[in-house]
Each structure stands twice: as C-alpha cells, then as structure tokens.
Amino acid sequence: MPESQSPAISTPVSDQIMIDIQSLHKWYGAFHVLKDINLTVHKGERIVICGPSGSGKSTTIRCINRLEEYQRGRIVVDGEELSNDVQRIEHIRREVGMVFQHFNLFPHLTVLENCTLAPIWVRKLPRQEAEEIAMRYLTRVKIPEQASKYPGQLSGGQQQRVAIARSLCMNPKIMLFDEPTSALDPEMIKEVLDTMVALAEDGMTMLCVTHEMGFAKTVAHRVIFMDGGEIIEQNRPHEFFTHPQSERTKLFLSQILHH
C-alpha cells in the first residue's frame, strides 16, 4: 500500500502499479530537460504535478503516452514497457487518456463525432454503440445538448469538457491532464474542475499538471513539485502546503498563493 493518505475525496488506492517511471532522462538537443525522474503511480492514485514553467512537468507526463521521446530510462504503463515499437505505443495510448491545455478538439467534426471517432476507428465499435457511449459521457460532463454543434461554436470551458468526454469514450485506465484550465477564462475554470473532481470520485487514476492548488488539496493523494527538470519534493497535499521542505518549493508556493 503506498503511503499516500486519503485526501478530501477518498477512493481506494490499490497495490497494482499503473505507471512506473525509472530514472528517466530526456534531452532537447544538448539541453537536458528531464533529469533522473523516478515516479510510481498506483491504480486509483491521483497525483498533481506543479512547478514553474519550463520545469519539465508537461514533458514528463507527455513521455507517459510517448508524445515525447526520451533518451534514457524506462517507463512501464499497466505492465507494458514503452519501446520504439509503433504497435505497442498505439496500444498504450488507447489505455491512456489525455486532456490538453488548448483542448485540441477536431474543428471539422461535431462534438459527437469528436467523441466517437476513436472508439469507431481504433476500438472498432459499431457506430451506434459508440454514439451511445459518447452521449453517456457528454451527459456526465453536462453538455449532451451540444452534441451536434461544432467545437468552434462552444465556449472554452465547454470545449475542455468535450475534450474530457472524448478521452473517456476510449474507456482509459489512466487520465493525463496537461494544464487543463490554463487557457480558460476565470469563470469557466470551475466547470472544468468540477468535471475533474467528479472523475476523481469515480476512482480514476489521474496525473494532473496544474496550478489549481484548491483542486490539489481536494483530490490529490500526492503533490509533486518539479523544477529544472527534477522532482524536488513530493508529499501529501496537507504537508506539502503547510510544511514545504525545500527553499525552491517555499518560494514557488509563496509566488502562486499570494499574488
């Protein structure tokens, strides 16, 4: 059993390891962006990663579904080790959902088509079944009435909720969130966070890069602080916010909490 204590939302964390990152290194040319990252995520665990911009937090989670290549180290996702094999990468991506800062919805497809595309073409579901699943998730993110609209006709918050529904339609085992609220207007952040909290209540394994510290306190089992391509500190949310260990963490927290 991992050490993590129950946050405000308590769902069980199992022994099963979902993601295992071992001494991960990555370079962009000569620039060493990730330096010896080690991270183990258990099934049902929710982790929030924060840190200043350029600290490598997005890069880290983008390595998990191989949107970024890495040069050294190994990543095992749900028992399968990432390699250069395209088939294996695609197989792992099917089980790992991702939500992006800029939503990245497909603008030429309707909301419903955005949600059914991958189930139909990747999971080979019949169209009707895929549409039923899509409507179920669109209802869960509270926008079933927008199903026939195009993404360009929706607000930012609605688009991000569609993006979450689109990922969920693939029935992923892990959800990665890459600054999901950073591109949103303030009044839309809450609707997206509410959706993510609801997902947490279902016991989804989640990795979130975010600066929403309220969200971190509510749902995270663990908060990880990264800087300069390294994991500086990780702790349970309460301890992390009340007793940060390193100077870098204290400085970072003072900057984002008191402005």
């Binding site: 579904n65 949107l67 395209v86 695609e90 197989h91 991506r93 099917r94 790992v96 959902g97 991702m98 992006f100 800029h102 990245n104 919805l105 497909f106 603008p107 030429h108 595309l117 991958a118 073409w121 990747v122 609209k149 195009y150 993404p151 360009g152 006709q153 993006a163 689109r166 990922s167 693939m170």
Partner: protein, 369 residues
C-alpha cells in the same frame, strides 16, 4: 437606494446607413477617389460595351449555311462555329461512332450528379464515387477506343476537340490530386529516404516547363525504348500532364498541412490513432479544406494547359479551332473561332471556381480559435 437597471431600448439604424442607399454610399461614393473611380468605370462601360454587344449579337449573322451569308454584316459570323461545331466537340472522331462519346457523357452526368445532391446517402455516394474513379475510366477507354466486342477501333490520335481537352483535364485532375497528397505527405515524412525521393520528384518536375515534358514524352522517350515497343501518344501525354501537375499539387497540399496545428496530431495520437488514420481522418480533411482555393487554382491552370498538347500533334479544343480557321474555305473567321474557344474554356473554369466557393462555404464549421 439602488434602482433596478433598465436597459436602453434598441434604436433602428440611421436610414442612410442601410438598404440600397446605404450600400451605394458605402461602396461607390464613400470618398472623392471612389467617386472618380465610379465615374471612370461607368465611362468605360459606356465606351466598350455597345461595340462588343453589337459585334457579338446585334450585327452578328446566325442563320445560313455558307460563308456567303455572312458578307457585309460587319458583326460576327457564328455560322462558322455552327458548321464546325461537331468537329470542335469530337475532333476527328468518326461521325458514325460519336454515339459512344455521347453515351459516356450522359453516363458521366448521371453518375456525377448524385454526388452533388445533399440528400443522397453517404454510402451510395461513396460507392458511386469509387465506381466513377475506377470502373468508369476503364469502361470509357474501352468504349471510346473500341476494337473489341464488334466495336470499330478508333485510334486515340483521332480523338480531339473538347472531348480530348476533357479527357486530359479529367485524367490529370483525378490523378494529380491523390498523387500530390501522397507527395506532400512524403515530403513531410520523418523517413529521410521517402522525404528525399519526394523532394527530388517535386523539384524536378516543377523545374521543367510542361511543354518540355510533353516534348520529351513524344520525341525523346521513344529513342530510349526498344524498337517496336510503342506507347500510345495520348497515354504518354496523360502521364506527363498528371505527374507534372502532381508536383504542383504537392506543394499546394503541403501549404495546407503546415497550417494544421501540432496539437491536432497530438490529440489524434493520444487517442491511439495511427499515422494513416490521423492523416486521413484529422489532418487531411482540415488541410485540404484550407487549400481549396489553391487546388482549384491548379485545376484551372491544368485545364487551360491541356492546349499545350498541340506541340505533340494532338488536336484539343484550342488546336482544332485553330485548325478550322486555316481551312481555305473559311479563311478570315479566326476572331469568331478564338472567341468561341475562349468562351468554352471560361465556362468550365468559371464553373470550377463557383463550385469551389460553394464548397468552402459548406465546409465552414464555425469560428476557430
């Protein structure tokens, strides 16, 4: 005490800002320079339009069967066009066999029309489209070429006129677009060999004038082929035109591919879509929509470039019209001939242009961020 806020009622816009008067003020008389340009345009219309209309319509000769009927009228002699019309359409295709071409044109019209009707189910459209792309060209070639099933053989060298123009343009367009898409994808490939091959192909073909390509295909190529092996001249021209235009198309499509944000590919990848599915379902539909103007531009250029086949001795619409104007019995009517040819070219090109605008409007899916 706070008073409840009462919004102002909506007022109608000022009378001179809307309607016909508003339009005229905004577009024709908004500034002194604009007024001067409006006046100049009106004067040019007054000076140029009446003579053109007189020549083409009011003073023109429409009835009659010989050139004598045209003498002394001063206007255009459309009898020249009428007596040569069949030749302009079919070239030297034997008169007794022209029903084959007519039948194919009818078949094509009935095959293509449902594709443009929105209520036809997508499944039927897909089948029809595939049939038109694969089965129709083979069937059309067999029927037009003949030589089997009791059909008299008609050598491709006697195909001509608008028929030949449409054959070259049609084959060129349907061949160049998919080939261009593949070349564009290849040029952006991460595999160095494929990339190098595509870049070489594109730069080689784009760097040579079409006229050279056609000339090479008809004069040079036979020198390299073993004696006795002889490709059809039309076939060589078709391959030349298709590959040439594919190189241009590749660069147009590449422009579209570059405009698609990286996030689209990442989102597709994150959902587990492989390369071809990402390209076919996500990137290409968006990229091709963006470059519709460029694609149609290339199509229009291709349509008009078909007239270059005259240098290898094929009689397309332009060349057959030219040929008719040198007919000793009908000397002196080249203006009518070229005006007619220009009108036919314009009709097709304008049609393509309108259709592309319509397509762009229909594919527009709301404002993008």
């Amino acid at each position: 005490m706070t008073q409840p806020h009462i919004p102002h009622p909506d007022l109608p816009p000022p009378a001179n800002a809307v309607g016909a008067i508003g339009w005229l003020r905004r577009h024709l008389f908004s500034s002194p320079a604009n007024i001067a340009l409006t006046a100049l345009a009106l004067y040019l219309l007054y000076a140029l339009l009446p003579p053109v209309l007189n020549w083409a319509f009011f003073d023109a000769t429409w009835r009659g069967d010989s050139r004598e009927a045209c003498s002394g009228q001063g206007g255009a002699c459309w009898i020249f066009i009428r007596t040569h019309f069949a030749q302009f359409m079919y070239g030297f295709y034997p008169e007794a066999q022209r029903w084959r071409v007519d039948m194919l044109v009818l078949l094509l019209i009935f095959g293509v029309a449902p594709l443009f009707i929105r209520t036809v189910p997508a499944k039927l459209k897909r089948r029809l489209g595939l049939g038109l792309l694969i089965a129709f060209p083979i069937f059309a070639f067999v029927l037009m070429r003949g030589g089997i099933l009791g059909l008299a053989a008609v050598e491709t060298s006697s195909w001509g006129g608008l028929l030949l123009t449409l054959v070259i343009a049609g084959v060129g367009m349907t061949g160049a677009l998919p080939l261009g898409v593949l070349l564009a994808l290849g040029r952006r490939s991460t595999m160095p060999t494929i990339q190098a091959l595509c870049v070489t192909f594109i730069e080689l073909w784009r760097g040579v004038p079409l006229i050279t390509v056609l000339f090479m295909s008809s004069v040079m190529l036979p020198l390299f082929l073993p004696a006795g092996l002889n490709f059809d001249k039309l076939l060589r021209a078709l391959i030349g035109v298709t590959l040439f235009q594919a190189a241009y198309m590749a660069e147009v499509v590449r422009g579209g591919l570059q405009a698609i944000p990286k996030g689209q590919l990442e989102a597709a990848a994150a959902l587990g879509l492989g390369y071809w599915k990402s390209m076919g379902l996500i990137v290409l539909p968006q990229a091709l929509k963006l470059v519709i103007p460029g694609i149609v531009n290339t199509f229009i250029a291709l349509f008009k470039d078909t007239s270059l086949v005259l240098i290898i001795g094929l009689f397309d619409l332009m060349n057959i019209v030219h040929n008719a104007t040198t007919n000793p019995a009908w000397l002196g009517f080249s203006t009518e001939g070229y005006v007619f040819a220009a009108a036919v070219y314009w009709l097709f090109c304008f049609g393509m242009s309108r259709y592309s605008r319509n397509l762009e409007k229909r594919l527009h899916t709301g404002h993008q961020r």
